[in-house]
């Protein structure tokens, strides 16, 4: 209680007037001037660098003026802030407490707006200055446009398709495998005990192993073990007459491409993550839903299949996408076992050209493919939100 009355005592009486915001306005004025100076100097640096590249044009001169003019717009909130400060002082002089406070608050707000947009302008200008500094050294290293233009299609169509193929197949497998592992981890009763233990062990191992180690072990280890050479001719023989083939021909015909070992390794790694996501989703469904389904005579598996898992899947969309984006990015690791993907190819280009711009292409591609997925999941969640909102519990 003592604390509470202290709190009340500390409240200022209603007629108390705020400290003038003039200092805020003055600081904003200085800051805006600083930003303008930064804009002018960084634009002249950039202009010099662009001229050096031999790309100077009247268009660029116009762009330079536009950028400086846009930064100069920072003086508008400064002016508003100072105007409100003056208004506040006039009201203070005439004893109008309410008007003083309103004008004072507006003066502060406009000063803060100046700071916010000023910081934004400084960071953007700083970024471009960084790129064009030292005769566009950074720009030439990372985004050498002619090289990017030349290699774009090669990297995209010839080699990024490898990444896409690997992650699409792996994601489809992970969806099924992760659910299977999750259901094994949740298997009820004494009979389920050993299955639960196995599934838990699997998750512990493959979540703990770095993906690149799993890839390395499976990608090199399984083919080296010779087991595929023993098994795959039998499977192949079920569909094709192999009696006339020489051992060499048979070996060539039945060799499993390393890409599939990569897919297996990524499926095992991400299956462990996704199993945990599924499990969290399944456990988040209220037990009353299970009670309702079981009380209608549905078996445990029917309840899972028709009631629990469909609701769980809707809930785990967002974390599932997280894991899928992780999987997509980890396809850049497949080069460790000698599969040439977009990243590997871009490194080859980079080594030949002494320039990293081809790697930038890969960077751009990885970012580009995740954005539509994120929006797609947002849409799905929005659509389902209405149905999930009520009705249960």
């Amino acid at each position: 209680m003592a604390c509470r009355s202290d709190l009340f005592l500390n409240l200022k009486p209603a007629a108390d007037l705020p400290t003038p915001a003039t200092r805020h306005g003055a600081a904003a004025l200085l800051f805006a001037a600083l930003c303008l100076m930064a804009a002018v100097s960084s634009m002249s640096l950039i202009r010099g660098a662009v001229a050096e590249l031999g790309a100077a044009s009247p268009m660029f001169a116009i762009a330079q003026i536009v950028v400086v003019a846009v930064v100069a717009l920072l003086f508008w909130p400064v002016w508003k802030s100072l105007a409100f400060s003056r208004k506040s002082e006039t009201a203070r002089a005439s004893g109008d407490a309410v008007e003083t406070r309103i004008a004072n608050a507006a003066a502060r707000d406009f000063a803060h707006i100046t700071f916010g947009w000023g910081v934004f302008a400084l960071l953007v200008l700083g970024f471009f200055t960084f790129i064009f500094m030292n005769d566009s050294a950074v720009g030439k290293t990372f985004v050498l446009l002619p090289l990017m233009q030349e290699k774009w299609w090669l990297v995209t169509w010839k080699f990024f398709t490898v990444n896409i193929f690997v992650f699409v197949i792996a994601e489809i497998l992970v969806l099924g495998w992760g659910l299977a592992v999750a259901l094994m981890r949740l298997m009820p009763g004494a009979a389920g005990q050993p299955i639960r233990a196995l599934a838990t062990f699997y998750c512990d191992v493959f979540r703990g192993l770095p993906g690149i180690v799993t890839l390395y072990l499976i990608g090199f280890g399984i083919p080296t073990s010779g087991i595929p050479d023993i098994v795959s001719p039998y499977v192949y023989g079920l569909f094709v007459d192999i009696s006339a083939m020489s051992p060499q021909e048979l070996r060539t015909a039945t060799r499993i491409p390393v890409m599939w070992w990569c897919i297996l390794a990524l499926t095992l790694t991400y299956g462990a993550y996704v199993a945990e996501v599924y499990r969290a989703g399944i456990e988040s469904i209220h037990w009353s839903q299970v009670a309702a389904a079981r009380s209608l005579g549905l078996s445990y598996m029917q309840t899972m299949r028709h009631v629990v898992v469909p609701q769980a899947v809707r809930r785990i969309m967002a974390p599932l996408l997280n894991d899928f984006i992780g999987l997509q990015k980890d396809t850049a690791l497949v080069q460790i076992v000698g599969l040439t993907d977009a990243f590997q190819q871009s490194k080859i280009i980079a080594a030949n050209a002494f320039n990293l711009s081809a790697v930038t292409i890969v960077a751009i591609l990885f970012v580009l493919i995740t954005i539509p997925q994120a929006r797609f999941v947002d849409r799905l969640l929005e659509r389902d939100a209405a149905r999930i909102r009520a009705g249960g519990a």
């Binding site: 009670a291 005579g297 809707r314």
Partner: protein, 247 residues
């Protein structure tokens, strides 16, 4: 042999004893109302009858068959004993029609067409056929509970358990749900309901059981229990209900 026999049933959750040797019988076409203070074991008893909870001692018999303890086919039992919950528990990802047809299709193995015909007939009886394609969140609490009753009825149970089905409803929605129960009672459905709606219990019950401390403290016709109960504890319970204006 009674239709449903509950013999000396004990149920505890850890140290908390909920049912302490409860005995009860119900005949076919009877409506048994369980009344009593919160925590007296009404809901637990209902959940034990269709094996959503296991009992620790005693026996439950349905038409002479033991339906408690190990070795009972719970899925088969639950086809015969339906339950409706206080909180409706409709499946939010399914339309009304899918909610009602899920178990007939998956458990009774009816064809989709046949199940939907039966479901629509049931929904029509409660005036919910126009909402058949809607999802539960589009329905009021009363409508959801009516659908939940129909979902249980779609399995054509021999016994229907109703667990405080109007407790989560706004007062003006209670009657639409009770009307359905009244109709079912009129059609001879065997029901056991835990309820706080004393007026309704008095009207529809064939038998009223007052549960107290995990046993049936007193049972009898509604006229007897509500009019002139023998036991002191029953009287004080009903007195308090009356003071609250609920009887």
């Amino acid at each position: 042999m009674a239709f449903l026999e509950i013999i000396d049933v004990q149920k505890h959750f850890g140290d908390i004893e909920v049912l302490r040797g409860l005995n009860m019988q119900a005949e076919e076409h009877q409506v048994v109302c369980l009344i009593g203070p919160s925590g007296c074991g009404k809901s637990t008893l209902l959940r034990c009858i269709n094996q959503l909870e296991n009992i620790q001692a005693g026996e439950i018999r349905l038409e002479g068959d033991r339906v408690s303890g190990p070795g009972v086919d719970v899925n088969r039992l639950r086809q015969q004993v339906g339950i409706v919950f206080q909180s409706f528990n409709l499946f939010p990802h399914m339309s009304v029609l899918e909610n009602v047809t899920l178990a007939p299709i998956r458990v009774l193995k009816l064809s989709k067409v046949e199940a939907e015909e039966k479901a629509m007939a049931l929904l029509r009886r409660i005036g919910m056929d126009i909402k058949a394609m809607d999802y539960p969140d589009r329905l009021s609490g009363g409508q959801q509970q009516r659908v939940a009753i129909v979902r249980a009825l779609a399995m054509a149970p021999k016994l229907l358990l109703l667990d405080e089905i109007t407790s989560a409803l706004d007062p003006e929605l209670v009657s639409e749900v009770l009307n359905i129960v009244r109709d079912l009672a009129g059609q001879g459905m065997t029901m056991m309901l835990a309820t706080h709606e004393m007026g309704f219990a008095r009207e529809v019950a064939s038998k009223v059981c007052f549960l107290h401390e995990g046993v049936v403290h007193e049972e009898g016709t509604p006229a007897k229990i509500f009019g002139d109960p023998d036991k002191q504890r029953t009287r004080s319970f009903l007195k308090r209900i009356m003071e609250a204006g609920r009887l």
